[in-house]
Structure formats: C-alpha cells, structure tokens
C-alpha cells in the first residue's frame, strides 16, 4: 500500500498514535488525510519501540477496515448462535440494554449484572466506574492469569509491586516464565543490548523459547514447579550467606522465621519436584544473588500455575527482598502510584459502591487477595504511605469461574446479565466447556467487539468498538506506574464504531449516572487525568503532540523517606497481611494442581505434563486469526513434543494429535522439538477458526484446538490466595488423531 502512496503529498497530517494490539502500546505515526489513515509506521522517536513494530503492529491498516469487522450495533433476531442479526442504532441498543439491566437490578439486585474483560485493551477504569455506580461488585478480567495476583501478593509483602526495572544498571536479569522474545518486543530489544554489555540472563521456562535461546542459563523446570524452585533458591541464598545482611537487618522483618522455615527446602529436596539438578538450582541462585544489583522481571507464568501460585509469588518476592534488590539502583523499582497525575483508581469511583455490595463480590469468600477483603486492606496501607491505592479494576475482581458457576447454579445468587468487552471468554478463560455453558445459560449477554467471535455469536447484542488508530490511549501499566505514555487518535471511529468509554458512559447516563460522567469524550477524561502534571496544555491532544510522555525523575530507595507500605513499614518476609487474611505468612510448599507425586494414579492415565498459555507470534491471545497477513505465518495450531516421546507414540512431525486431560481433549499438530523435556508437552493457546461457519453448532471450531478445554478452574486447583486457575503443570496424554477416534464422542 504505502509503496503506492505519496506520503509527502499536500494535506497529510502525521498523528502520534500507538499500536493497540498488545499493551506495550508501541508508538506509531499515522499519516492521515481527509479523515482517512493512508499508512502507518513505527515512531522512531517513541522511547520504547524506537520505530520498531512487531508483526501485529504492522497490520494496523488491515485491521482497520477488515471485511469481517463489526461496524454497526447488532441485535439478535434468531435463536442464540444462529447468526441472525438486525442492524440497529446505538440509541436503540443502549436504550434496550439499559432497560434490561435496570429490570434485572430491580428483580435480582445489581450484583446480578457481571462484566468480563480481557487484556488491558479498553478503558477499564470506565467499566469499573460504571459498575460501581450501578452497584455491582462483579466485574472481572483474565486478571487472575495476568500478573495481578503477583501484584497483590508482592504489595502485601513490600507495599507495591515493581513495574519499572532499572536494567541499565543491572548485572543479572531473571526471566521467570517470561518470553519477551515472543510477547514483549521492546523489552527483548533492551535485554539484548544490555546482554552484549555483560548483563547475565537467566530464563526459567519448561520450553526452549525465543528468549531461552539467548540466555546465559536456561532452567527447564517441570511446568508448575516454580514454588519448589523458589523455595530452594531461598534456601541457597540464605544458607550460603548470599543475602544482603544490611538490607535484611534494617528493612526486613521475619528473617529468622524465614530462615528456619526454608531450611527444609534444600536443592536436593527440590530436585525431584522441579526436574532440575541440585547443582543447577545452586548455580542459578548464586548467579542471581551474586550479580548484584539484579532483577526479576515481571511475567505472568506463575499467575497461571493454579494451586501453588500464591505461595510461589510470595517465595519469589522474598528472593528479591532478601537480596536487597528492591528500589535500589539497578534493581526492581517500586515506583508507587503517580503523585502527579490522576490515577486510574481515582477515576473509578470505588467509594460509590456500598459496603454491602462489596461484600457480595463472588469469590471473595474463598479467594481474598484480589477481591474486596484483601484489596481494601492493601489499599488502606498503600494510601497511608503512597497516598493512593492500586487500580481496583484488575486488582479487586470477582472470581471469573465462580461467576460462570453462579450463572449455572444461581449460587450464591443468580447472575442474569453478562457484559463482555474486549474478550472472547470461550477461548481465553479456563475450562472452556464450563464457560460455554454459562454463556449459553446467561439470560442476557452483550458483547463489545471488533469481530463476531464465538462469544459474540452467542450474544443478544453485539456493539462495534473502535480499535487502534480510532482511540486515544494512555499507557501506564494497568494504572499502577508513576509514568505515562500518551497517544492520540488518528481518526474518528469509522462506521458506527464507538470507544468503549462512550459505551459505559452512555449506558451509565441512561441508568441515572449522568452527573458522574462529566467528560463527553475520552480526550476530555484523559485531559482531566493529565492536567495536574502542569505542562500548561489546553487539551489532551496538545499534550500528545508536544510532550507525548511523562517520566518523573527517578528516586531510588524511597523507603528510606517514607517506609514500605506494610503495617510495620518494612518488608514483611513474615507477612502480617497474609496472616491477617488467613493465609500462611511464610511460603509453604504445595504441589502443582495436578502432579505425579501427589496423584500417581492420575499420572498413570495421563503420563505427560502439560503447559499452555505461552504467547506466540504472530497472534495475541485469541486475536488475529482473521488477518491473513499474520495467519499465513502459522496457519495451523502446533503443539511441542520431544522426538523421543513422539517416537514412542508413533507420532511424526506434522501429525494431528489429540491432547487430553481429565476435562477434555483438543487437537493440534505435532511439532517435534528438542526444546522440550520428553515428559512435557506445550500447546498453543487461543486457537479458533474464524474462517469456518460461525453459527451454532460450528461456532468457528471454538473447542477443537482451544487449549482452555484442557485447563482447570476447579476451586481445588485454584490458588487459595487469589483464585488464579491452572493453565500449566497439568497432567495429560497425547495420541494420534485417527478416523476412528475422531468420531468418538468425548
């Protein structure tokens, strides 16, 4: 396209936009004329991507006006899933939805309305604001799988969670189940630069990933055994005297208890649990502890291991703490919330939700860390020290599987409406069959989407949402960092698409929230966020055009001035907050959700260990399967299996195979690779086939290759702290697809 477009022609404006296909939000320049985008390219002046765009970033123009996009409000006229729609106006859609929600609230209470979100690709604070004003505590995301439990556990221990890495001054980086080589392009670029200058990189991952291939040390642990590894690291660091005695003395409480507690967790103890040798464990722990300052970069794998997730996050946080790698130059920085601009939490109107409604939040009785009980305690502590609280949307949510169950069982109470925005729960939430049943059973389903996903196909209303290039964006790490990057919309939304902000606002106004939505446009709202920064700008766009980002001057070791945001104002190795909430104050070993040690019988039937959920190029979660310019690179799903295991199972490279757990089976093609343990298999996530019939019962082959058919959301398999469910470390079996077994009903 661009080859045939003269970008020097008269009348072209260059808009400072951003990519919106993951939440890195790389800077993009959009060439706009007469309200149309002619072309885009990476913004060379943007601080993170410096002109770079990954494969997804490059397809913005294909995404903008793709023939399969939803461009007008749709109302279901046929049976659910029949794909019979009537195009209606926004006015009609909003009126009818508001009327229905209001009826449900009258009959069943506000809590009978739930909302589901996906990756941070929407104005989440606006959804939260709507829900708070509406009176329901039952908003949720895939937050539980995506670093939010980590945020809350770490905040309980040392008062915030590191967002910012001072990598330039670092000597060692641990990527714990993180693969920026496939999921965080601006990050891996930085890492490779620094590695060339001597930064040591340790990758902990069952797979030999893009990132592992570049590491100094690769630890291919058994999927889900992160807790055992973290505990053994603590053991090594403490008993080999590799911790930071001054920091521990002055700024930590509970070191003695911790030392006593982890004595049992020697590397030899961890060996059979992690499948790593004691030497590997020692060597890696030494590499991190002895190359100070060091970093353990954020990553979401531990959020996805289920039962032992919370304890593993806790143990990992303690590794960082006892080595003094907290808020010091070159280490993981506790930025705290921004004191300078209005944070997302301050936009959420959390004080508007009555306490009795907060108490009704589904899952908060079982899982306290990312629901009101834990959140309110932590918010109280952080307000004391930082003056502000973490974003509630994300950090304080209903437990999604429990909401789906509530839809089906009406326990603890009926949930009648689900508003889905920026997610396709059938593919992206755990145990797809449960999710599917719930989506089919819920009385009222509304989806805000780009595409007619399987979820959208089951909806009563589908609303067209503005995407990349059509919306302004503020990037501030889930609203929890002290910096922000700002981008403007290149064009007004095409067709009848609208920003999700306007959906919530317009719906809110119809439900009597008018006074609480003073900002007519997203830009108005954003302007109110950045105005206190004092740049003297008259509008949000002016800020983007002239400043584009705000990075406050870095202050190291802020705890020396204000203390840590915990009850003792110190790092609580022995966590009083966790204890208060009824959880073990020290990280205590529990096995992975499914494992061969605790359940040898299960392991007999399902002898392989499964890991799912890792991102892979060129897709993002369950997105982009329609974009041919991406799809052609990997047009079929592939699972990784070691050639030795494959040989035993008579599986050849490229064969279709079934991967089966207790919960069901899916098929993907076999990719034979030495990059995975013979006892482990990895499946790609997100797969559906939008090119197929999208009507029931085909629904785009939504269960055929979808890794979440295999995952587990049983309460027992979830992390007791956060309710995070199990995507990794489950037991499975693999066998070849044959004509005969394909017909078997499963």
């Amino acid at each position: 396209m661009s080859k045939n477009i003269d970008l020097e022609q008269e009348g072209i404006q260059v808009k400072k936009s951003c990519c919106y296909f993951c939440h890195q939000n790389c800077g993009v320049l959009a060439y706009v004329k007469d309200g149309k985008v002619l072309d885009i390219e990476g913004d060379l002046d943007f601080p993170t991507n410096q002109g770079g765009l990954c494969s997804r970033g490059n397809i913005a123009m294909k995404h903008l006006d793709h023939p399969a996009r939803v461009n007008y409000p749709l109302k279901r006229v046929g049976k659910r899933g029949a794909g019979e729609w009537q195009q209606i106006s926004w006015e009609q859609a909003l009126n009818e939805i508001a009327e229905k929600l209001s009826k449900i609230r009258d009959e069943f209470g506000a809590e009978a309305v739930a909302t589901a979100g996906g990756t941070q690709r929407t104005d989440d604070w606006a959804r939260r604001r709507f829900m708070n004003l509406f009176g329901s505590p039952n908003g949720f995301h895939n937050a539980h799988l995506c670093w939010i439990p980590t945020f809350m556990v770490e905040t309980a221990i040392y008062g915030w969670c590191p967002f910012d890495l001072d990598l330039d001054n670092s000597r060692c980086l641990v990527l714990w189940g993180q693969n920026p080589g496939a999921s965080g392009m601006p990050e891996i670029h930085h890492i490779m630069d620094l590695k060339a200058k001597g930064l040591k990189v340790i990758v902990i991952d069952p797979r030999y990933t893009e990132t592992a291939a570049k590491a100094d040390m690769w630890l291919p642990l058994r999927p889900g055994s992160d807790l055992a590894l973290a505990l053994a690291w603590l053991h090594v660091i403490i008993y080999e005297g590799l911790f930071d005695p001054e920091f521990v003395d002055e700024w930590c409480v509970g070191f003695g208890e911790l030392a006593d507690h982890v004595e049992q967790y020697s590397p030899e103890w961890a060996e059979p649990l992690t499948w790593l040798s004691a030497d590997q464990i020692r060597e890696s722990a030494r590499m991190y502890a002895m190359n100070k300052p060091g970093n353990i970069q954020w990553g979401t794998s531990i959020d996805q291991i289920g039962k032992s997730a919370g304890a593993a996050m806790q143990a990992r946080a303690l590794i960082r703490a006892i080595t003094g790698n907290l808020d010091a130059p070159g280490s993981d920085l506790l930025t705290g919330p921004s004191p300078d601009f209005v944070t997302d939490e301050e936009m959420e109107a959390n004080d508007q939700l009555p306490d009795e409604q907060k108490a009704k939040q589904i899952g908060s009785d079982k899982f306290k860390m990312v629901t009101w009980p834990g959140y309110s305690r932590i918010a109280e502590l952080t307000k004391e020290v930082w003056g502000k609280a973490p974003t509630a949307e994300w950090m304080c949510e209903a437990h999604p599987p429990s909401v789906f169950r509530a839809i089906l069982t009406e326990k603890p109470y009926p949930v009648k409406a689900l508003l889905v925005s920026a997610t396709n729960p059938i593919n992206s939430y755990g145990e797809s069959k449960l999710t599917l049943e719930a989506l089919k059973a819920v009385e009222f389903l509304v989806t805000c989407e780009y595409w007619l996903t399987p979820t959208a196909m089951l909806s009563d209303y589908v609303l067209p949402v503005a995407g990349a290039l059509e919306r302004p964006t503020i990037t501030s790490s889930y609203g929890c960092a002290d910096f922000l990057l700002a981008s403007q919309r290149a064009i007004q939304p095409m067709y009848e698409r609208r920003n999700d902000y306007n959906f919530w606002r317009d719906l809110g106004i119809r439900l009597g929230q008018g006074e609480m939505w003073p900002w007519e446009t997203v830009e108005d709202a954003y302007y109110s966020k950045i105005a206190p920064l004092g740049y003297g700008v008259e509008s949000y766009d002016e800020f983007v055009e002239n400043y584009r980002y705000h990075f406050p001057e870095r202050e190291y070791q802020k705890y020396k001035r204000i203390g840590f945001a915990t009850p003792s104002k110190k790092v609580e190795l022995y966590s009083s907050v966790l204890e208060e909430l009824g959880y073990p104050p020290l990280p205590t070993y529990i096995g992975p959700s499914e494992n061969e040690v605790d359940d040898p019988d299960l392991a007999k039937e399902y002898p392989l260990v499964l890991t799912t959920g890792g991102g892979f190029m060129p897709f993002h979660h369950s997105e982009h399967f329609q974009i041919k310019e991406l799809r052609f690179i990997r047009h079929e799903p592939y699972m990784d299996i070691n050639p030795a295991t494959a040989a035993e199972l008579s599986i050849k490279d490229g064969d279709w195979v079934w991967i089966e757990t207790k919960r069901g089976r899916i098929k993907q093609k076999a990719n034979l690779t030495q990059g995975i343990d013979p006892r482990v298999v990895y499946t790609q996530r997100g797969w559906w086939y939008p090119e197929r019939d999208m009507r029931e019962p085909e629904l785009g082959g939504y269960l055929e290759s979808n890794a979440n058919v295999l995952t587990s959301v049983a309460d027992d398999d979830c992390d007791p702290l956060s309710g995070a469910w199990a995507n990794r470390g489950l037991l499975c079996k693999v066998y070849k697809v044959t004509d005969a077994n394909e017909k078997e009903a499963k």
Partner: protein
Amino acid sequence: MARYAMILDTRRCIGCHSCTVACKVHNDLPLEMIYNPVTTIGPTGVFPNVHMMNLPLLCMHCGNPPCVDACPTGASQQSPEGIVFIEEKKCISCKACIMACPYGARVPNHEKGTVQKCDFCKERVHVGKLPYCVQTCHQKARIFGDMEDETSEVYKLVNSSHPVRLLGELGTEPYAFYICESEVKL
C-alpha cells in the same frame, strides 16, 4: 557513489517475523509472495543441551548477481548503488531469474504476470528512510547502510565482526552479511 548492504545479526534475531509482515503489508504483496522469510535452525542438539538460531533472509543484492545475467529481457538490473531490481514493464515472467537465484529471493506475481523482489525499499532509501524490514525490527537484527561510507555501522561491522555470506562459495558476492555466534557454521 553508495554501495548499499545489509547486516543480519543472527545473535539478535528472535524469529518474530515482523520483517516478513512489514514487507508484505507495505509492499502490498499477495500472501504467497515472501521477500524476506525468517527461518529457524533448530533447536539442534538433544534436550536440554540445545541451540537455536534464526536466519532472516532477503535478496542478497549480490556483487555478481546471476539473476541479472539470466534475464533475457533486461528487466532485471542492478543500480550503481548495488540494488538489484526489476523494471516491471520489461518483465515477462519467464522465471529464468527465479531459477537462477540461489537464495530464492525472487517470486512470481501471478496477478501481474511479472516477477518481483526485494529492492531494499529503494524509494524510501532515496529519501533517507530505512527499508521497512529494518525500521520495524525491534531487535535491530537488520542493519542497513552504505559500505562505501567508512563511518557507517555496516562498514564497521563488516570489518570487525567477521560476517559470513550465505552460499559464498557460489561466487555471487552477496551484500547481505550474516553475523553469527562463533560456534555456528552456516
């Protein structure tokens, strides 16, 4: 006169396919036409002692391009700056150049009835911009520049990092230079 060249730093390439997609989208290429695939070698070895390398490809803009000699119509040409390109109106798609190129860098466009190839985004380069595949690479695994300019990064890297040329033994003198980890042989 400039002599354009590209360095491919396989130590940095992570196989994300951004360059392939950027090229396809910006050059408006049909799906089957790929100027610059990225292949993966490995993981080689036996778990857990494995190695993996990604190989970003493109037209090598050879010093001695067999495709130009093979072209019966004179459509395939080389500019004084070393850019091998096709003058589309002269091409009849006899595929002689496709067959002659040892790197698979030329692809037929069945819609147009011509052959097409990477031309280092010469329109961009002539106005001082980088080729799309270079600009889009987060990893800076593709480095573009002028070999005649002793201050350029490509000149310095070619003369300091012992790059290798793909199928160098064929005498095509590629101006795409590959930097590999020392233990790797291409």
